[in-house]
Symmetry: C2
Subunit: 372 residues, 2 copies
């Protein structure tokens, strides 16, 4: 089943419209089948065999028929000048892919880059104090100048300041919206929205035109933390959305940072609560960088394998053949078998060995590519 | 050897004038011999047998001769209207007795009470901000109203505010000086000094007339923390004496609390550093009380034994005799043997059993008293 490039999106859009199927289920399916086309053409027995699949999701998949809705959404995407980045695309944010419930695809206004992997989120109160805004500005500026991408939610107050200060420092910034990616919300951030999409990306998992409903914000917050090495909470009242982001960050294994303030200020109470619960107290950007440095050096360690991309001289011809196939694009194991003409068991063995030696990286859905 | 009450102090004063003998050595000797008179009349072999005794301390003890200096100090004590509380006195602060290097005695202007055992220290910067002074005031007031004694160092800034707010709230407060107890330092705290000595105590381990030398302050700080269940640092720069107090508090197993402030304020940097190192972040007095509550309820648990001060009906006559002897005063085991007319082994056995059953408390130097 080969469709024109544009229509490749159709089964992806369909996936998110299946009743009873959420992001966790989508990840399970995509990890198994790699491609939504295969998901929709799978037999109920095949679907049922997937560990943890809910019966209502199976029901929804088997009975899915809203192709008209999918067509409509594709028209909207075209009209909005928005691109889609799918779970198995190479430029789908690698860190976001690791969470339990990554979106099957992201609507993107602007551009996501590999360097955005070095991201830190700054979030906080919409009704920030001058103090909070000043700290958000200084931290964003400091992160930008150290080459970090600053992620936030484009809300009033701390979020807006974090984006703005990053842009002013020529840094990259990603806004994750709780509305359709085509909507600049709040309205006074229209200009900020433009600047972000030109110097970073505005992203959302919600259909084009979705209004900014409070209901969607907690789910949005998991993307802010999921994209980031750590989340910095600058000012937050005790029941603020920033605390939700912080707790999602913890679940996702991200670092949580909080900026203290004067006791007696209700705006600092949430941050103080986080610090009591173990969040790292942040005074300057160095406090953030020191804490996430170990994760970065792990990345740098992986980077060293770039030097080793040449196979050892004694490597067998079959190994060289497969290695060459995976130089440019990630391939599914079936595609490797077909293109190499080798037996499935031989291919499995070679892929496993190359992966163990650090030459290959495995992606969800049994896909492989040369480690870079 | 029985001396008139006043002269009982002489061997104690002598002890602190022995060259090479510090507070740690004094505690070892007092724990072994109970009474300085016995220390000075001990043979070198007996002294040498004490675990960890330094040879220069032994030398200093054996060759001690500065009785003229002792006489002079006694005259000064009389002139200053100061009392001495000795390590083995019942009103020597029980918590202070547990540290590694408690003073053999304290100079006291005012009065120490058993209730001062429920003490919390508040310390901080001499050049406090309005914010810091406000927080110190609120915390001191809150502690006072909950029946805690507030301990501090009577310095300018946070210390002074902590004492003052406690006094204004009709609470008890203890000032630990880094000078002689007769000296009101800084001079502008002359009136505060008077109020503290009338509604609590001004104490010091330093001889009458000792000037407030910076050199003495770190040693003084160990008494502030040693007297307290916990130490609250309100504002502190990075190299402040308050951080010394906090680290001594940790060594002594006391709780350490710190009050956050705005990042960028150098006065909050020390407190933030403490929080990063694990100090409890304090916003209100409840944060302090919650943390030390377990220690208080342990005390309350001990308090329950007051109800059990009646021996069980089946207790033997020998047991009753010893129990009666220890109702009013703590006695050394030798005194119990003499007064009871029982054999040393019988007395040991009874004392041990009564202690294990929670009727008696053992004090350093083989002294016993009824648990209250």
């Amino acid at each position: 089943m080969t469709l024109p490039s544009r229509h490749e999106y159709a089964p992806w859009l369909a996936l998110t419209r299946v009743k009873g199927l959420g992001a966790v289920g989508c990840k399970k399916l995509l990890t198994q089948f790699a491609d939504p086309v295969k998901i929709f053409s799978a037999t109920p027995a095949e679907l049922k065999s997937i560990d943890g699949m809910q019966s209502d999701a199976l029901e929804g998949l088997v009975s899915f028929s809203d192709w008209a809705g999918v067509e409509e959404e594709m028209r909207r995407i075209d009209a909005a000048g928005v691109s889609l980045i799918r779970f198995n695309d190479k430029n789908y944010p690698a860190r976001l892919r690791t969470i339990a419930d990554p979106p099957p695809f992201l609507y993107v206004k602007g551009e996501l880059r590999a360097a955005d992997d070095r991201a830190v989120a700054i979030v906080g109160s919409r009704s920030a104090s001058d103090y909070g805004r000043r700290v958000a500005r200084d931290l964003a500026r400091g992160l930008a100048s150290r080459g970090f991408t600053v992620v936030s939610g484009m809300a009033r107050g701390i979020d807006g300041m974090a984006h703005e200060a990053t842009l002013n420092a020529q840094g990259r910034t990603i806004a994750v919206l709780g509305s359709g990616v085509d909507r600049a919300y709040p309205p006074e951030h229209e200009q900020l929205y433009q600047r972000i999409s030109e110097n970073g990306a505005v992203i959302s998992e919600l259909p084009i035109g979705t209004r900014p409903l409070a209901f969607n914000f907690p789910a949005r917050n998991r993307l802010i933390s999921g994209l980031s090495l750590g989340v910095v909470v600058v000012e937050a009242t005790e029941k603020s959305g920033s605390l939700i982001t912080a707790s999602l960050a913890l679940e996702q294994g991200r670092e949580v940072f909080a900026v203290p303030g004067e006791v007696g200020s209700s705006r600092s109470r949430g941050a103080h609560q986080l610090i009591r619960q173990g969040a790292k107290l942040v005074e300057t950007v160095n406090d953030i960088v020191e804490e996430i440095a170990p994760q970065l050096s792990k990345r740098d360690g992986a980077g060293e394998t770039t030097e080793r991309r040449e196979l050892p001289a004694q490597a067998a011809d079959d190994v060289r053949k497969i290695f060459a196939l995976l130089q440019e694009h990630a391939l599914h194991i079936d595609e490797v078998i077909e293109a190499s003409g080798l037996s499935p068991s031989k291919v499995s063995e070679i892929l496993l060995n190359l992966e163990l030696q650090g030459f290959l990286q495995q992606f969800p859905g049994n896909r492989y590519a040369v480690e870079r």
